[in-house]
């Protein structure tokens, strides 16, 4: 069965199923979404207007039995950054689309009649587009439950809550996970793009394809490579032990001890709140209260870094309770009660809000006088009663950190390309800072995770407080990440890949076995380079310049405790990133 491009035009509510053009055959995930966005979206278009497109694409290995291959990419022009965006998610969508033979789902246009929202249901060779007035004004779990009533329980579901309907820049697209909870196509305000196209939810039929696998040319070779790959993931102390035991939140303590945990709106790199919110405390709570420290965000995950988190009475509070969320509300906004952060996390899943953008915006809202550090009750109320309803205050918070900073005349505004900086201080983890300023995505930790080598001693060690070697490190990691994001692999395969020689060749062998190709490591790295350059060129054509590849100015003159470091790169040093 050959894969197809599924294309929906919301302007006239029609669809087409197309053959895959030759040039796109060898692409998947981010490689495909960025290629299609660059080819078909006018870089100067308004991201919330009729000429932006949403491109969903499973990775090259999604839908196969390869471990950790269930990641999906979504590409579009971002209304938050004004540049290209690739957002990567777990959940069940990638596997289901790949098994159905959907190489990419492209959604273009927007309805002239914007009085209601639509539901798009993708089945084999057919797409239904119907009005769903009954879902308007509802949030993600209501939509998810409605879809599970209507279809087989394995149906893949993506939806937006009220903030997405209102085209808020802190809104995500929520994606059903294997346990019926939610993951997010996060960052860049992509929920707003879906809202602008008047799409409330997208479902993909899994009923007839439950047991099928995406096609594989050489099954024997695939199985052999898959075995080596899975073993590398399981034997690695990070992916095999640390992540399953403590989750991504294990990072709170190590980043804090290194003086790189952004605290009270990026005033310090050290928080006295770490012990209350860290992964060790979270794991203790889970043990004492029931719940589970291991949960895979997608089928076939052998790392199982996610979790189910209960309250003191043993009642379910949230799942997918990740480091970035806990940092943003714990260290940066100063909430000391992990359970209160969990309650906010569950609310944000339901509303479809981006953990990083929302948390950083609320941290900045302290400086604007709208909330106080540590006031979890107020943070919850603002999201539940202001943001969800689109009150004036809700709209201000909903517009993200960069815009809030402008409205209130603030200077300490931690954004790059108008997108909030995540949970690693660029002044104290300089390699990560280089990724923030250079990636075409706006401040994004997943684009090139230099924390691995600056702090975690994965792939060697480069001193986090010094400039030497950081630009090269960030470049190499961004190239590798762009390639990995095209395979459908979870980015955490990077930990074994950085330290275990058998891991990366096995990954490439699986791709070759699936498609009957003879790609080498160099070919795959070249793919990463091409993707980065394609994205960069889109941004330049969208009006971004090298002057947007810059850290917020306050980081150049405010020394960050405890190491009292500033951002000290010259513009020339940063611009040299693109010399490849």
């Amino acid at each position: 069965m050959s894969d197809k491009i599924y294309r929906v035009n919301m302007s006239n509510l029609s669809f087409k199923i197309e053959d895959v053009p030759q040039d796109w055959m060898g692409l998947g995930g981010r490689g495909l979404t960025s290629t299609i966005v660059a080819a078909e979206v006018d870089p100067e278009c308004h991201p919330l207007g009729p000429n932006n497109k949403m491109v969903f694409a499973p990775g090259l290995l999604s839908g196969t039995s390869a471990a950790n291959s269930g990641r999906n990419s979504l590409g579009a022009k971002s209304p938050l950054t004004g540049g290209i965006k690739e957002s990567n998610v777990g959940g069940t969508i990638a596997g289901v689309m790949a098994k159905l033979g959907v190489k990419a789902l492209i959604i273009e246009g927007m309805p002239e009649d914007d009085s209601t929202f639509y539901h798009i249901h993708v089945t084999k060779e057919h797409i239904e587009i119907e009005r769903v007035p009954e879902l308007v004004g509802k949030d993600n779990y209501f939509v998810l439950d409605s879809m599970l009533e209507k279809y087989d329980k394995k149906v893949a579901v993506m939806s937006i809550g009220r903030p997405g309907e209102m085209k808020m820049l802190i809104s995500n697209i929520s994606v059903k996970d294997p346990k019926g909870k939610l993951r997010s196509h996060g960052r860049g305000g992509l929920g707003a793009v879906m809202g602008s196209k008047k799409i409330k939810c997208i479902t993909v039929d899994a009923e007839k394809f439950n047991e099928a696998s995406a096609s594989i040319v050489d099954m024997e070779k695939f199985k052999a490579a898959s075995k080596v790959f899975t073993k590398a993931l399981k034997d690695n102390p990070i992916s095999g032990e640390g992540l399953p035991a403590f989750g991504t939140n294990v990072l709170v303590n190590i980043i804090n001890e290194a003086g790189g945990l952004p605290t009270r709106n990026f005033r310090s790199g050290y928080s006295d709140n770490a012990e209350n919110i860290c992964g060790e405390t979270m794991a203790e709570n889970i043990k004492a209260r029931g719940g589970s420290t291991t949960h895979g965000c997608h089928a076939g995950c052998v790392i199982q870094c996610s979790q189910t988190y209960n309250d003191k009475e043993g009642k379910y509070l949230t799942s997918g309770f990740e480091y970035e969320m806990i940092w943003a509300f714990g260290a940066n906004l100063g909430i000391r009660d992990l359970d209160q952060i969990a309650k906010i996390d569950a609310l944000m899943d339901d509303l479809g809000l981006d953990a990083i953008e929302t948390g950083v915006t609320l941290g900045l809202a302290v400086d604007a006088g709208l909330i106080e550090f540590g006031d979890g009750d107020r943070a919850y109320e603002i999201l539940k009663y202001e943001v969800s309803k689109g009150t004036h205050l809700g709209r201000i918070i909903g517009s993200g950190a960069g815009n809030l900073g402008k409205l209130y005349g603030l200077v300490r505004v931690p954004v790059v390309k108008n997108q909030s900086i995540p949970a690693y201080e660029p002044r104290a983890i300089k390699g990560q800072g280089v990724t923030y300023v250079t990636t075409p995505m706006g401040a994004d930790h997943t684009a090139g995770y230099a924390v691995a080598t600056n702090i975690l001693n994965s792939g060697g060690h480069v001193d986090p407080l010094k400039k030497e070697g950081q630009v090269e490190l960030a470049r190499n990691l961004q190239i590798a990440s762009a390639a990995v994001d095209s395979t459908g692999m979870c980015i955490f395969v990077a930990f074994p890949a950085l330290d275990e020689p058998a891991c990366l060749p096995a990954l490439i062998d699986m791709i070759n076995a699936r498609f009957g190709t003879t790609l080498s490591i160099d070919d795959v790295m070249n793919l990463g380079k091409t993707i980065l350059k394609t994205e960069h060129e889109f941004n330049l054509n969208a009006g971004l310049t090298k002057h947007d590849d810059r850290i917020p100015e306050f980081m150049k003159y405010e020394a960050l405790p405890p190491h009292n470091v500033t951002w000290d790169f010259t513009n020339e040093e940063i611009d040299a990133f693109w010399d490849f």
Partner: protein
Amino acid sequence: MAELMEITVKLFAQYREGRFKSQQRQYPKGSTAQHILEDVGIDKEKLPVGVLMVNGRHVEEDFVLEDGQIFTIFPKVGGG
């Protein structure tokens, strides 16, 4: 008897199991990171050491500590 120094030793992740989170401990002057690892019973065979820091700066096992420093010990951890 050798002169003693005060070191705050902090343990994280699996290293806390059956041990402690943070303790003030006394060591002979001139003690190395390796000496303290052995003293608190870190078995590198069982669970490899990931990161050692003194006062928030990465160090190697042969690093010689000084009085009043904070020594943190992590197994291999990652996330993101």
